[in-house]
């Protein structure tokens, strides 16, 4: 029997195999010999591993033996190749830290004790395989002793000593990881995961990731721009005249650098409001001339007499923004590809959803009865939902023509209505923004009214973002989709709403810049600061809306749901609040878009977002723990993760493209900012770079950025990415590359 089952064994291995087989023959499954006295685990495994068992059943073993892979292994070169391949795979997998040795080779390699060049890694390899062996402790110890004897034969004591040394290093590393590993908010996240599951946890992990990203960016902005601006503002500044490249002495040495560099009209305008709260909230007055906004930064190369410091503010500003965008893109793309890979792996399992639920559904970490009941209920509920979907799919195939017509008509109607709503919302935002612009130059009766007028645009946007999504979720009920698809479609429409609101706001701001270029008495003097202020206001309003929506909605909801037994008030059902993951993740993505968009015009925005993220984390978590019930619906984490990452990428381009366009085509305002009196930002940078680099370098650079080089580069990159995508079977990311290239080549 042994020869038929393992025809591929060579001579030496035959011997060990047979002894192995003998050992298995001695073992009898306990169930088949009920009366036998089996001692404690001093004897061998009572139940052989399933692999052996299956190979013993003739049916499958004959199929296995006929497989081409097995046939290949039989031949001598095949056997060597397998061993080499195994070793290579083991080395690779041990580097990544995850054991991925398939079962076949595992059994093979365990037997292979004598005939190998016995390196230290091979020893480790087999040691790892022994750990993986699905049998009891005694058996594993015996295998290990065999292994050690073989090592001792070949290498004597030295091998053992090496092992021990390596063991010390490993244990030191492990001790370090055990005692000193730091992960922000780890206890909070564990609490959330334990009580609410993976879906909600993914939201908080996303939040933490955004926190790290924004912290990095914010510190960069602060360190490279604000700190030098503060430190060097009092020195003897040497003004750099772009037009003539002359370095002339500064006009006067004053306390605030702003007053040299903003025209006198501007300063008079902005220091009129006195109320501190209004100043802070609206970003006007004293705030406007602070480091908060673009307008304050000087155009100078600062030169102090004693210590020669050349700090070219315009150049640094540009470079920091570039790094801001490129770093964000790299990090977002990296985690998007991770998320996509994970969801690709999981995507295949939609075929196996029932297997999944039954075999892998139970969470072994649960150790409280309430949680166990909840888990069981959620599994049962989930299975019912899946069954209902199957039934629904069958029914929808059986629909007759009339029903189909009515359903399609309804769907078209609902889509048209939603399109109408979105356009109306866009128009509302546009006019509100226009009102805000008007309020800059005229002033209302009271300061409070003026504040409201300032905030018109932001309040409109936030108001629409609150009101419209519930309307969408009501409208979708008429469209008769499956529940999963309903959720996705509502999410998609909310995304459109949020992105559209940003686009409309940008359109209105664009008209501002147009006006500013034309001049006149009723224009805004420093349009970049105005844009920065608008985005600043949006960030502030978004933050307050999120925090107060959580506090003011969820606490009362739970209060009412607990007290009122029938759970309806005037026929409106009040459920205990559930944590809505898509809505909250969208809020985070929206805040991040504002950060990317606003950083160039208001360099403190990333740090503000960091602070707001910290506050939102604690508010959400406390509200979650006190108010919410765990959701009954299961949440496909990785699919949603990849969707949100895709969303983040799209929003990234939505933020990056306007800024890039502004660099290339919009005239900086004449009175303020690092790029005053230049035609475009890009021109200013070109002048600076040209002045400071040797001619050769400039020639090379200008060639690289010209059309003649970029287009072949794009073509080559397309080919490469298409090839890579084809081999890895990922979606074509060359679209992203193309968009990037188009923006670069635009100027």
């Amino acid at each position: 029997m042994s020869s038929s089952v393992h025809p591929r064994r060579s001579g030496k291995r035959q011997k060990s195999t047979e002894s192995h087989q003998e050992m298995i023959d001695i073992e009898t499954p306990r169930s088949s010999v009920p009366g036998s006295v089996t001692h404690d685990d001093d004897i061998l495994l009572s139940k052989p591993t399933s692999r052996h068992t299956n190979l013993h059943t003739g049916h499958q073993s004959s199929i296995m033996a006929r497989m081409p892979s097995q046939q290949a292994i039989q031949s001598a070169p095949g056997a060597n190749l397998t061993r080499k391949d195994c070793h290579r795979r083991w080395v690779r997998s041990s580097r990544s830290g995850f054991q991925s040795i398939p079962n076949d080779e595992r059994e093979d390699q365990i037997e292979d004790v004598e005939d190998e060049d016995y390196s230290h890694e091979h020893h480790e390899h087999r040691a790892k395989l022994i750990k993986q062996y699905a049998s009891n402790m005694k058996r594993k110890r015996e295998e290990y002793q065999k292994l050690q004897k073989a090592t001792a034969l070949k290498y004597g004591n030295q091998g053992h000593r090496d092992r021990k040394q390596k063991g010390i290093w490993q244990s030191v590393k492990q001790g370090f990881h055990e005692n000193f590993s730091f992960s922000l908010w780890r206890s909070h996240l564990k609490e959330v995961e334990g009580q609410f599951g993976n879906g909600v946890l993914s939201y908080f992990i996303f939040l933490r990731w955004l926190f790290y990203l924004n912290l990095m960016l914010g510190l960069m902005w602060f360190g490279f721009l604000c700190v030098p601006e503060i430190l060097l503002a009092h020195r003897n500044v040497v003004s750099f005249d772009y037009a003539t490249f002359n370095i002339s002495q500064s006009i006067a040495n004053t306390t605030t650098g702003a007053s040299i560099y903003c025209s006198p009209d501007y300063i008079a305008n902005t220091t009129s409001t006195t109320h501190l709260f209004i100043v802070i909230i609206s970003g006007k007055g004293q705030m406007e001339c602070s480091q908060l906004f673009y307008g304050n930064y000087t155009a100078d190369v600062v030169h102090t007499p004693n210590i020669p410091i050349y700090y070219s503010m315009p150049f640094v500003y540009f470079v920091v923004t570039l790094v801001h965008f490129i770093l964000s893109l790299v990090l977002v793309a990296r985690s998007a590809s991770n998320a996509y890979q994970k969801s690709y792996i999981e995507g295949g399992s939609s075929v196996h959803q029932f297997c999944n639920k039954l075999f892998g559904g139970w969470d072994y970490c649960i150790c409280e009865q309430k949680a166990a009941e909840l888990k069981m209920k959620s599994i049962a509920h989930d299975m019912k939902v899946d069954l209902a979907e199957e039934i629904r799919a069958i029914e929808s195939k059986l629909r007759n023509k009339k029903e189909k017509c009515t359903i399609y008509l309804k769907r078209i109607l609902v889509n048209l209505i939603i399109l109408g709503i979105l356009s109306a919302a866009g128009a509302a935002i546009y006019y509100a923004a226009k009102e805000t612009i008007d309020s800059q130059t005229t002033s209302a009766s009271s300061a409070f009214l003026q504040l409201l007028r300032n905030y018109t645009a932001s309040l409109t946007i936030s108001g629409l973002n609150i009101i419209l999504p519930p309307i969408f979720s009501i409208l979708i009920l008429y469209e008769n989709y499956s529940p999963n698809f309903e959720v996705q479609l509502t999410l998609l429409r909310t995304v459109f709403l949020k992105l559209a609101s940003i686009i409309f706001l940008l359109a209105s701001l664009f008209t501002v810049t147009r006006n500013a270029a034309s001049g006149g008495s009723d224009t805004i003097l420093c349009w970049e600061t105005y844009v920065g202020q608008e985005l600043f206001k949006l960030v502030v309003v978004n933050f307050f809306v999120v925090v107060f929506a959580t506090i003011l909605v969820e606490f009362p909801q739970r209060f009412i749901a607990d007290r009122i037994r029938s759970q309806t008030i005037c026929c409106i059902p009040i459920y205990p609040p559930e944590f809505q993951i898509p809505k909250n993740v969208l809020d985070l993505v929206y805040a991040q878009v504002l950060c990317w968009l606003g950083a160039f015009y208001c360099p403190m925005v990333p740090l503000m977002i960091v602070v707001s993220l910290v506050v939102i984390f604690y508010v959400k978590k406390i509200s979650l723990v006190y108010n919410n019930h765990p959701s009954q619906r299961p949440y496909r984490t990785s699919k949603s993760n990849s969707f949100f990452m895709l969303l983040l990428i799209i929003s990234y381009f939505l933020a990056a493209i306007p800024v890039g366009y502004g660099w290339a085509n919009l005239t900086p305002s004449k009175q303020c900012g690092p790029y005053r009196s230049q035609s475009t930002v890009i021109d200013a940078i070109t002048i600076i770079v040209k002045k400071n680099l040797p001619t050769i370098a400039w020639d090379i650079l200008s060639f690289i950025f010209s059309a003649g080089f970029i287009i072949p580069l794009i073509l080559i990159m397309r080919i490469i990415t298409a090839f890579v995508a084809f081999t890895l079977q990922l979606p074509p990311i060359d679209i992203i590359i193309t968009i990037l290239a188009v923006t670069i080549a635009n100027y």
Partner: protein, 230 residues
Amino acid sequence: MGNRQSTFTEEQLEKYQDCTYFTRNEILTAYVKFCELANIRGKVALKQDYSKAMKLRIGPDAIKESEALRENPFAMRICQVFSTTERPGYLSFNNYLNMMTVLSDRAPAELKAAYAFRIYDYNDSNYLEDDDLKHALKDLLFGVDELPSKEVNMIVNEIMREADLDDDKKLSYMEFEHAILKSPNFLQYVNTLISLYQRIVRTRTFDIFKFTKIDINTSLTCDAFTVANF
């Protein structure tokens, strides 16, 4: 050096380390936990002989009280599968350690799948048949109202349709492994609170030998973050 534990020699601990995915401290913690389940206090446990320790057995009711398996619907099956002692369902320390290491988050998916197959195979036939699946479903949904039998049959049919590749109305180990290793939940969920042990070890690293009282104040958490792709 004070209260040195005298049950295991260093060599024995190393051997355990070689056969499991645990570190030395975790093995000691697991041993103390095991003795607690067998109603022996931590201090006394560490002073026992090796041979005496090896003779300890814990029964299914004691195992059902441990936090790891208290609410687990498959607890009985797990005991039966991992037990290799003379009384089926009773675990020795080696069995207990084996069980803990298979259920820990360092064990690879194939090892867990091998044992999962045995756990779900209620009649020990080395195949998962309809009855096995129905039994598993009933155990899994033990705390809730019974699913109507029509739905149970539908679910079992769906599972067979999904996983049975050679159409013999039963799932062999290969088909099971093929289905289960694609499951995203499996590796993530079939983990127990080994991190619980780690946390204890972390706080008491320097007095590992002074096991006066282990206060296991648990919150329901495990270290199996699969969403850590950010």
